[in-house]
């Protein structure tokens, strides 16, 4: 590339980035959202979840118990679990779980749940009528199930003792000796790498694609629609320089978004790891880190070129949007599929399938597995796919009709 050509490509890329970032909505889309998404999801969401759980725990529930004789200790346990109850006679039904005349009482929430409890000599039968769409009713059911389970356990223990047997030996004849986590020979770093390998490739694939949609459209179909492309095509720059300049701009914007999102993800994981014994910092070799960067770059070259090409084919922003948005499926399905592929003894051809190859490579590399055969296959196939995408994009940029718009 000559100096003049380099300067023109730089001028195009710089102008595109400057123009794109002058819209505050863009800053939110490419900086704020990627940065905050995972911290909000991993830190704030559990906090919200905890507060909701605490709120449910604090609920005083009102239930009805229909029985022909409730054991005293069971009634006490139910009261201890913050449930007020009234006792009624059992209705005459074939099965206890039939709602019968009580259907409307539960549906109208006049009671949170109805426990039916029937004694048959030494065994009891029970059913809980509840409304699964009501949080109070679900909570009442859960508390009743938990109370009944505890009561059943104590009943079992009592019967074992009455039978003259040892409770522990009867209920727990096979036991793990020692700490379960001690028996895993994988290091904490390796375990963390495995956990991250389930997140990061997926995030990278989807975010790289989706964050490139808006700038790709704006810089191609947008220019075409606004009529700015014609003036640009009259300038002494080649279409390839134009493509390169725009590619650098989209790649920069997308790269910033993806990096910030990974930073946010690592921050959130770091926060969780500080209060966790099983999550730590992944152990990666320099080679793995280098190959991770290479794979991301190749993926970005391919995805951005592909999106620029599709957007440039479109006559308007609307048309480009309706092509690029559904095309996300081309990334999403392979990305989801890749998550379930077993990496142990995986065949080499998987590393030659577009999109799948890079995502599998990332999974392996995040687990610090550098397998030369796999690296060669994904690197070469990715270079081929990235080149094809770039060639396709250059063909679109060389089309004569890119100057016209249907809008």
């Amino acid at each position: 590339m000559s100096e003049g050509s380099f300067l023109r490509v730089r001028a195009i890329a710089k102008k595109e980035v400057v123009e794109f970032t002058r819209d505050w909505r863009t800053i939110i889309a490419i900086i704020v959202i990627p940065l905050l998404m995972f911290p909000l999801l991993f830190i704030l969401f559990p906090v919200l979840l905890e507060s909701e759980t605490a709120e449910l725990d604090a609920l005083e529930l009102s239930i009805v118990i229909q029985t022909d004789g409730l054991p005293d200790n069971l009634g006490e346990n139910i009261s201890l679990n913050s449930m007020d109850f009234t006792i009624e006679l059992l209705p005459n039904l074939t099965h206890l779980s039939e709602p019968g005349d009580d259907l409307e009482r539960v549906r109208s929430s006049s009671t949170d749940a109805i426990l039916r409890f029937e004694s048959n000599d030494d065994v009891w039968s029970y059913a809980i009528l509840h409304l699964s769409t009501s949080e109070r009713s679900n909570e009442a059911r859960n508390r009743l199930l938990s109370t009944l389970s505890e009561w059943e356990s104590s009943e079992i223990r009592e019967r074992i003792v009455q039978g003259g047997m040892d409770v522990n030996a009867t209920l727990d004849p096979l036991r793990w000796d020692g700490d379960i986590s001690d028996a895993d020979v994988a290091t904490t770093g390796e375990q963390s790498g495995m956990i991250l390998s389930m997140f990061i490739p997926l995030v990278l694939a989807i975010w790289t694609y989706s964050s490139a949609i808006q700038p790709s459209i704006d810089m191609t179909a947008g220019e075409r629609e606004r009529g700015t492309l014609e003036a640009l095509l009259c300038l002494p720059c080649t279409r390839m320089e134009l493509l390169l300049g725009k590619w650098f701009a989209v790649a920069t914007i997308t790269g910033v978004g993806v990096l910030l999102q990974i930073f946010g993800l690592l921050f959130a994981i770091g926060y969780l790891a500080s209060s966790s014994t099983f999550l730590g910092v992944p152990q990666l070799s320099i080679l793995s880190i280098g190959l991770i960067i290479l794979s991301i770059m190749l993926f970005a070259v391919m995805v951005v070129a592909f999106e620029l090409a599709l957007a440039m084919r479109s006559h308007s922003v609307k048309e480009a949007g309706s092509i690029l948005a559904p095309a996300l499926m081309l990334i999403l399905f392979p990305a989801l599929f890749t998550q379930v592929i077993n990496l142990d003894g995986i065949e080499g051809f998987w590393f030659a399938i577009p999109v799948v190859n890079i995502l599998l490579a990332l999974r392996e590399l995040l687990m610090n597995r550098v397998i030369t055969e796999h690296v060669l296959i994904w690197a070469l196939s990715s270079v081929v796919y990235a080149s094809l995408a770039a060639y396709y994009a250059s063909r679109q940029f060389n089309r004569e009709d890119i100057v016209t718009s249907l809008s």
Binding site: D23, T228, P236
Partner: protein, 277 residues
């Protein structure tokens, strides 16, 4: 005899089945203002795009006098497209500077030229403003400044006074004449005959993709035996003008069919209109 800058020989341009231009032969000479006059869809913009190297001819050649293709002289070209092509999130000066940088012109040289012409166009105070809020006239003037900032030898202006108020249009026309007087060459597309008569040394009448006349206003009157350019134009373009179709030319057959499928029939009587309501 003025020097030939640009030579268009036997040029035709097709967009699929539509023939936008047919066998165009035209020489552009140094230091003249050539007016391309024609109705909407006549082929003026297509011809300008061919001259700018945005389009390639289907047949024929658009070359410089030395035989080189027109794309090799883009650095000598200043273009104001019909749409002005300004970036709304950039200031007027940033728009101008961007194009100058693409021409390889330093910011200081570009600024000096811009300042000079901006004063002439009463735009100096607006150079630091974002073009988003600009009126049509200000956009046209900014596009003109952008086209002039790198010191081009040839200016291609597509409807440069469209949408301008009388004063702004006068200023633009005066500037065009000044540029010609300073040795520049201007190709000026318009559908306003009166404007072409005021500004241009030579008028090329294009109709339905063909050149119907080429010469000074006096020669056009002589050749057509009419008293005014308007009459001359009418006598040269008696066949019905076609509609502008170039932009729709590349719509796929399926896309067109799908669009038509959801397009109701246009009512033909008042009764049908009322029934549609």
């Amino acid at each position: 005899m003025p020097k030939t800058l640009l030579s268009i020989q036997g040029v035709s341009k097709n967009f699929d089945e539509i023939e936008a231009l047919c066998e165009i032969n035209l020489d552009i000479h140094s230091g003249e203002i050539v007016g391309l006059v024609g109705s909407n869809g006549a082929g003026k913009t297509t011809l300008l795009r061919l001259m700018a190297g945005v389009y390639k001819p289907t047949s024929g050649t658009v070359n410089l006098s030395n035989g080189k293709p027109v794309t090799s002289m883009r650095h000598e070209l200043g273009v104001v497209p019909e749409s002005t092509g300004l970036y709304s999130r950039l200031t007027a000066w940033e728009n101008i500077r961007y194009h100058s940088r693409m021409h390889g012109i330093s910011d200081s040289v570009s600024w000096a030229r811009t300042e000079k012409f901006a004063e002439h166009l009463d735009m100096k105070d607006s150079l630091s403003r974002h073009t988003k809020g600009f009126s049509r006239g200000m956009k046209q003037k900014t596009a003109l400044l952008r086209a002039l900032a790198h010191g081009p030898n040839i200016l291609l202006l597509d409807e440069p006074t469209a949408g301008l108020d009388i004063t702004s249009a006068r200023t633009v026309r005066a500037l065009v004449r000044q540029l010609r007087d300073e040795g520049g060459t201007v190709i000026y597309s318009t559908h306003q005959l009166a404007e072409a008569e005021q500004v241009c040394d030579r008028i090329v009448i294009i109709h339905n993709g063909e050149i119907r006349a080429d010469g000074s206003p006096t020669i056009l009157l002589e050749n057509t035996g009419t008293d005014s350019l308007e009459e001359a134009y009418v006598s040269l373009t008696l066949d019905q003008a076609r509609t502008r179709k170039e932009d729709n030319a590349r719509e796929s057959a399926f896309t067109g069919w799908w669009r038509r499928l959801f397009t109701p029939r246009t009512p033909t009587t008042t009764r049908e209109v009322i029934e549609d309501e």
